[in-house]
Amino acid sequence: MENVLSILFCLTLLYLVITSRLKTYVAILRTQGVLLSAIMIFPFMRHLSVHILIIPLMSLIVKAIIIPRFINKIIIDLDVKRIVEPSIQPFNFLLLSVASMSTIFVAAHVLSGYTPIEPIPFASAFSAIVTGIFLIIFRKKLIVHVVGFLILENGIFLFGTSVAAEMPTIVELGAMLDVFVVVFLMGIAINKISSTFAKQDVTVLGKLKD
């Protein structure tokens, strides 16, 4: 079941690559939030307890509800143009992503022979990390950069579950809070940028250099 959800997670990444509508980005973030929470609950289906449910529930609230809402609000408030102008052909971007994803999957398969990792969640997580970085590199809009960062964080989250990293509840909650505050501050910054500069592109941020 975990593998199925991870594959679904990977498919959302491919959709992310070809779409150019901001609304879809937010929808994908929401879907990923739900998928991640589901992946976290599954191993504990047999013996559920309140204690185990805290983290998945929190991640559901933060990743699937609060953060997508916040990003939606920024898009509406700032009246960001709903279509993203890419700096790379969508088809080439898809090709690049598929190529890197397949490399990651093959590498994960090979690695799973040596070390105790679960290849599919592991590879999905790394695909998300790479896609997040691609999104930051190949898109110009700052709000899409924030989405890219969140995709990267989702990937790390999935990675954490796939290696079964033992983190105390308080640390996991702290990490989630940190990510939320980062996104919140970035939102404020984008707000300020849009009131200071004409565009919300990276192109306006070129003043500081030597």
Partner: protein
């Protein structure tokens, strides 16, 4: 009394007070009191008079104790000068920033303390991300286009960097697969104890990710640009904090992972990576020292240089490691002097460009002289402390003569480039229109600079035995026998 509680709970209380009380003087007094208590506690822990017991999450080993003292020392001076800094009329827009200023300083203190004494890498990660969040509003203090850009870049770059560091920590979990550590918490102590059992390939991957990720915060090239923008556009006290202690906090994260790797076969790999990072940082500082036209950026590049030197020293090992640890102390104190006086110059000339600053020594004698001495201290002029620590790093590098030659070459030209800029600011005669003669009084920033410079000379000339034994203890923890 439990010192651990004092060190962590006090800043939290102070955050609350500063957030709800809007009288700036009250905020200042509370923050200063907390800073003093924190300094006293750190000193008690540092000197080994009383060391709180270790538990799973927190520990006070030699490394933490040294970095904790650096943090509270830098923090104390920064808070001390902050009130007079906030009262300076510069731009109207910053009034809003002033409300949050002390709150954010306290968040900074809390998060850094937590990061420095954490034994759990997850706790370290959360705390160091919080330090980024606490400085972001401080960078945006002036609320102009440049500071907005700097804040965005810093926040984004460092957040992505820290995310990478987290991947590195997860690799550490993977490396424990099949050993007694499998399924255990990410504690530095237990990982160090069973280090030899860990899978070397994942350990190497972990180090690369942690080093590259935290480099954004330490300011190791090529991940330094966000750091440079942030330190040069932040108000001077915040810049002093970032250069003086925040970079050290991030360095501690790298050191923790390195500490785990020391007893294993991967130690050489980590050392090589650190040497490459260090030498590349020196190279970048060397190139940009001739290009910068902004004196605060110049000091920021000097931070890249010195953190590069420290990483190089750690990578070299032996006596160079001891030198690197001492260098961390001296560099932090010197950066406070430089940034505070650069802030004074910025206030008087209303520009950070070297070209619009002239004749500082005559117009503002106190600031000018302290800036000059700060410059002497940072370029390792004896008898300032940095001279001795750099000498130790060079001594360690003697076994690698080519590397030493490269380091000396870079340092010499950094010195040339930096002195060109500094002397131009201090001595150039004013242009046709006369400079407004500024009559400068002896201020609290000058008092801080004077004390720190005297301290730097004193530490250089006669090293306190406590500092020395602590540094030797750290070296022992890292498997270096002197």
């Amino acid at each position: 009394m439990n010192l651990l509680l004092v060190l962590t709970v006090l800043p939290i209380l102070s955050i609350g007070v500063c957030y709800f009380v809007h009288i700036r003087k009250a905020q200042y007094i509370i923050s200063l009191l907390v800073a003093i208590v924190h300094l006293v506690c750190s000193y008690i822990v540092f000197s080994g008079i009383y060391i709180p017991a270790e538990n799973d999450f927190f520990r006070f080993d030699a490394l933490s104790r040294l970095f904790l003292l650096i943090l509270s020392h830098v923090y104390f001076w920064v808070v001390l000068v902050s009130y007079s800094y906030l009262n300076r009329p510069l731009v109207v827009k910053e009034e809003k920033s002033k409300k949050l200023y002390f709150t954010m300083l306290n968040v900074y203190l809390f998060a850094n303390t937590l990061a420095l004494i954490s034994n759990h890498l997850g706790v370290f990660w959360v705390a160091s991300e919080t330090t980024t969040l606490s400085v972001a509003p401080l960078i945006y203090y002036y609320r102009d286009e440049e500071s907005l850009e700097a804040m965005w870049k810093y926040l984004f770059l460092v957040s992505v960097g820290i995310a990478f560091a987290f991947i590195g920590f997860l690799f550490l979990v993977l490396s424990a697969g099949g050993t007694v550590l499998e399924g255990q918490q990410l504690l530095v102590t237990s990982f160090t104890r069973y280090a030899t059992l860990l899978n070397p390939i994942w350990l190497k991957a972990s180090f690369i990710f942690v080093f590259v990720g935290l480099s954004t915060k330490i300011g190791i090239a090529p991940m330094h640009p966000g750091d440079i923008d942030a330190t040069s556009n932040a108000p001077s006290p915040a810049a002093a904090l970032m250069s003086g202690s925040l970079r050290g906090t991030a360095l501690l994260g790298v050191l923790r992972v390195y500490q785990i790797m020391v007893p294993t076969v991967t130690a050489d790999f980590a050392r090589t990576i650190m040497i490459i990072g260090g030498i590349f940082s020196l190279f970048v500082a060397f190139v940009f020292m001739f290009k910068v036209t902004n004196y605060k950026r110049m000091i920021a590049y000097s931070s890249v240089e010195h953190l590069g030197l420290i990483t190089l020293g750690i990578g070299t090992g032996g006596i160079a490691f001891v030198g690197a640890m001492l260098h961390t102390v001296f560099n932090s104190l010197t950066k406070v002097v430089l940034f505070l006086n650069a802030g004074n110059i910025h206030r008087a000339y209303r520009s950070r460009e070297v070209d619009s600053v002239w004749n500082v020594l005559q117009a503002m004698p106190w600031t000018g002289w302290f800036f000059l001495f700060g410059f002497f201290a940072i370029i390792a002029m004896p008898p300032f402390g940095i001279f001795f620590s750099e000498l130790m790093i060079f001594q360690g590098l003697l076994t690698k003569p080519f590397l030493l030659a490269a380091v000396l070459f870079f340092l010499f030209f950094i010195f040339v480039g930096m002195s060109k800029t500094v002397f131009r600011m201090l001595y150039t005669a004013p242009p046709a229109e006369q400079t407004p003669i500024i009559t400068e009084k002896f201020e609290i920033t000058h008092f801080a600079s004077l004390t720190l410079l005297v301290l730097l000379i004193a530490l250089g000339l006669s090293m306190p035995s406590q500092l020395y034994t602590l540094v030797v203890q750290i070296s022992k923890d890292f498997g270096i026998l002197l």
